[in-house]
Symmetry: C2
Subunit: 284 residues, 2 copies
């Protein structure tokens, strides 16, 4: 059992990680740290953390692992804040949606990427946010991608993997570029498509949504995602997202051409393959 | 109370229309007609229709209204089949997802658009199909758009509107071009986007879907739609769909440019406006 961990940013993800660890009895003491004391009080009341500490040097004293779970745009500031208190053996890990930029920021702040810096990304979430939504089971059967650098300490990688597995997740090790490419394709691109659709409808006809049926509601759900978080994902993974938008535009061009050129068989095949792929994926 | 109606194509939509009319006691006798007798037997067993008749002249004898609810690609054949039996006062109506092409087919078959030809489109559905999925409440609070031609008989328009309202729908009268434009924007375009995304993912990486989280499942749901139905919608509303794909692509280009040019404030505003528009729409 690990002695002490510190969660910086006790929101939905940081809080659920903590709650999961408490439930599976993995850590003696879970300390919360953040700028908003009332949020930390709430986290304590909900028993998501064992205690909270407002002084960073005390929060990180004798700490085995610190998890940074603050919004992406504060990551560099948080690293700068913890830097004086990070000991050689302390594992520093995170939950950010992009990994290359996170590693770059670690390199900028520490001079090199510390061997105990173990970036991670849990592919899980909820529409709600904040510690009130924290759920010990949030990561059950969900994938967590860990992207250690070449110099990463193997034991630290194993430790971080072990904690995620203990709370139900399936861990996969991958390099940062592959992670950012994959997530750009499967998560960032769909969000851009949904935001783009709402933007298009707004610019065309503000009443258009009145005529949209149930399918539109599901399709557009991710357009209700947090604007700040998605702004930051775009700023932190620009090349991959743009690459996939441009690649996707070619798929759309293809569909438009099949319609313009009256090619029903080709359209039917494309739609049928799409359906098969999705239905096959859902069965897994 | 109407004496007799005939439903040609007793599937999800035709069956739900019939079931709704029976539930609200609007029609003395509802007759089903189709090519698949076992389906008609099932419809009778489910009490969706009162009886079925396999001979079209008997099915349409003394009929006040015939609803064509077969797949779009059979519409012209069905009109040709019923033409010899359509009396002057008989209302002919439909439920097709596109209206301009339906009116064109009526003009081709009858020489002119008959004054009692009242095209309609209920904006409702389910993932399941077939008469087994028929539901008398399917159209509760759903919009039905009726697109009568200039020469349409006013009483017939009122009759068709009345039947839809009796089964819970909100009727709106609109011209065919406006309908096809609106539906291209709010329904056909999103389906093209979802099919396009699956096509893009398949062509890139067949395992990509393994890494997709919950948001992707909702977003891609409409890519599991019926390929034949959507092929026919594309063939029947090509100009509007292509127009909206091309318009949408400009919105997507804009997002890509904001990312390329590192414009976080503009991105945040776009995403925030998208969220507000959707959240505002959901409250209605």
């Amino acid at each position: 059992m690990m002695n002490k961990i510190c969660i910086i940013g006790v929101g939905l993800i940081g809080g659920s990680f903590a709650a999961g660890l408490k439930k599976s009895n993995q850590v003696e003491t879970i300390v919360g740290f953040g700028r908003n004391e009332s949020n930390l009080i709430k986290a304590r009341e909900l028993n998501v953390i064992d205690e909270y500490i407002l002084d960073i040097s005390k929060a990180l004293a004798d700490t085995d692992l610190v998890l940074i779970a603050t919004p992406v745009n504060s990551f560099k500031l948080v690293l700068e804040m913890i830097k004086p208190h990070v000991t050689e053996k302390m594992i520093v890990t995170d939950v950010g949606s992009t990994k290359t930029s996170v590693v770059d920021m670690a390199r900028q702040v520490f001079g090199v990427v510390p061997e105990n810096f173990i970036p991670a990304h849990p592919i899980a979430g909820k529409e709600q946010s904040g510690v009130e939504a924290a759920d010990a089971n949030l990561f059950n059967n969900k994938r967590v991608i860990i992207t250690p650098e070449v110099n990463a300490n193997t034991q630290s990688v194993a430790t971080v993997s072990g904690l995620w597995e203990a709370i139900g997740a399936k861990v996969e090790i991958m390099n940062t570029n592959k992670h950012d490419d994959l997530l750009a394709m499967t998560s960032h691109l769909p969000h851009m498509l949904a935001f783009g659709l709402m933007d298009y409808l707004i610019s065309n006809d503000s009443d258009a949504c009145d005529y949209a049926a149930g399918g539109f509601k599901d399709f557009s759900r991710i357009a209700s995602s947090d604007a700040v978080m998605w702004r930051d994902i775009c700023i932190n993974n620009p090349e991959q997202i743009v690459k996939h938008i441009e690649g996707y535009q070619k798929s759309l061009d293809n569909i438009a051409n099949l319609i313009k050129n009256n090619q029903p068989e080709a359209l039917e095949k494309l739609f049928s393959d799409a359906k098969s792929a999705r239905d096959g994926w859902l069965k897994d």
